[in-house]
Amino acid sequence: MINSVLELEKEFDRRITELDPVDIGAWLGYPASGFAAYSEPQQLMEALARQQIRQALVSHKIGELMDARAGNEALERALPHMPGCGGVMTLLPPGTGEMDDTAGCVDSLLDKGFRAARIAPKLHRYSMKIPAVPEMLSTLEQRGVPLLIPIGQTSWDEIAPTASAFPRLAVVVEGTGHHEYLNIRSCLTWLTVVTNLLVVTQGLFLCGELELLAGEIGEHRILFSSNQPMDDPAAGLSLLAFSELPPAARRRIARENALHLIASAGKGGYFA
């Protein structure tokens, strides 16, 4: 029986090698809680290598849990030590005196290797309905910079109408199973209507949700994200490795969509 475990481990590794995944959800810094953290770039790079992940988009916990500007600065310092990785900038809405020049900030960070933006409205205490949000999203849309937002920081009823006003902006909703727990009825109906909403593999908790979404909205709107080190990357990789989707669809979700997302940032965007 022990051979079954060993053979299954080998099969898992073989399938990951074939997928050659790109992770759009890796994090530096200490999470609010957990058993693991990548406090230094080298730790993240070593972990990615163990997982057979050669490329990633990296966010910083400082930007989410403490200060957006400090998080961007920390990531700016780390990126030169992380070959194959792009940065995810954390934005605040303009008009508060903190990050008023959204366009200038985005352009500057694009030049420094950032390839996506994220916002955290609930943690940073604003809603998607404040007047500054359209200005921020319009800036990203004009530059083709994708926006990442965890569903726990908003709701389907909030993010979907907001995203629909910026149809060329790729809005990547993370952790769809978290917070709006197993809320496939809201998730699926909004995703069907608002086609610039993308989802990630992290948090697709509903049994069979990956295959369901691939069938309903298309695999071109799903991207691999580990959410490590909060989540175990082996969990998300396992979902893909053992998915019932055809190999071409799995590879698209694991790798090709992310490569396109990264390559098109600042150059017209995902839907250009």
Binding site: I2, G34, L188, L206, L210, Q228, A241, F242
Partner: protein, 267 residues
């Protein structure tokens, strides 16, 4: 070709009111088990958790009849209907495919020390039955989860040494994991399963260090929760293969005994 060998101690069959279940027929479930190398899954009918006892037990027996080598089941004790659920539990508990009792203090809105559970605890104790309970961390946003924190089972475990308690979801979130580990360390008749939506990096290794690998059972919460997340977590955990096999299979055999594996399965 790798034959299914894993034992999943925490599954469900049937539709649920809160979401569209993609896999809810027993044939769907068994197909998914094949795809994830699960030889035996122990399930509870969603109907039984939703007070639909007649429908639930008929679903349960039909599923066991249809897949006698692959499926095992739990009865359900529901404190909202203590007499009815206890009578049915006694009626069906000796069925060869029924191997334990499920309780869900959060969904059923009553903590496990509530006196309405007393007869069930005594029954499980005297029959040395496994009892699978939902557990979770204290959650101010969802107070019903406070009915199922692992520490609530401390005195129950002490008073019922014959019962074999499985802390479903291992406490659910970080504070719940800590409370679960305390129970696992303290009580020889307590185990935890890794089912649910928590996939924290390092959790398995931490739990093995804190409580011992012999206390960890493989569970998924299928057909609510996607089971392929759980498989990778165990396969890539920083544990020796022998420990992974214990989690994936042999610990469950220790808890549930002979009724779990059919001799016809050839295992």
């Amino acid at each position: 070709m790798i034959r299914p060998f894993i034992i999943d101690v925490h599954g469900h069959i049937g539709p649920a009111k809160g979401f569209r279940a993609r896999h809810f027929s027993t044939d769907d479930i068994v197909r998914l088990m094949d795809a994830t190398w699960v030889e035996v899954m122990i399930f509870v009918s969603m109907s039984l958790l939703s007070q639909q006892y007649g429908l639930g037990y008929s679903e349960t027996l039909r599923a066991l009849d249809r897949h006698p080598r692959r499926l095992r089941a739990y009865t359900v004790f529901d404190p909202a209907w203590p007499d009815v659920s206890m009578r049915l539990l006694r009626q069906y508990q000796d069925h060869p495919g029924i191997v334990g009792i499920k309780i869900h203090p959060s969904v059923h809105g009553a903590p496990p020390e509530d006196t309405r559970y007393a007869e069930m605890w005594d029954y499980a104790d005297s029959r040395k039955l496994p009892v699978l309970t939902h557990t979770w961390a204290p959650d101010p946003a969802n107070p019903s989860q406070n009915y199922a924190t692992p520490d609530r089972f401390d005195q129950i475990l002490e008073a019922h040494p014959g019962a074999r308690l499985i802390l479903g979801h291992c406490g659910g979130r970080m504070e719940g994991h800590r409370l679960a580990a305390e129970m696992l360390k303290k009580h020889p008749n307590c185990w935890a399963d890794i089912s649910g939506d928590t996939h924290s990096l390092g959790l398995l290794e931490w739990l093995a260090r804190e409580a011992g690998v012999g206390k960890i059972l493989y569970g998924t919460d299928v057909n609510w929760i996607e089971p392929r997340y759980h498989l990778g977590k165990v396969l890539k955990a920083g544990l020796p293969p022998e420990d992974k096999l214990r989690i994936l299979r042999t610990n469950a055999l220790d808890v549930f005994g002979d009724k779990l594996i059919s001799t016809e399965s050839g295992v």
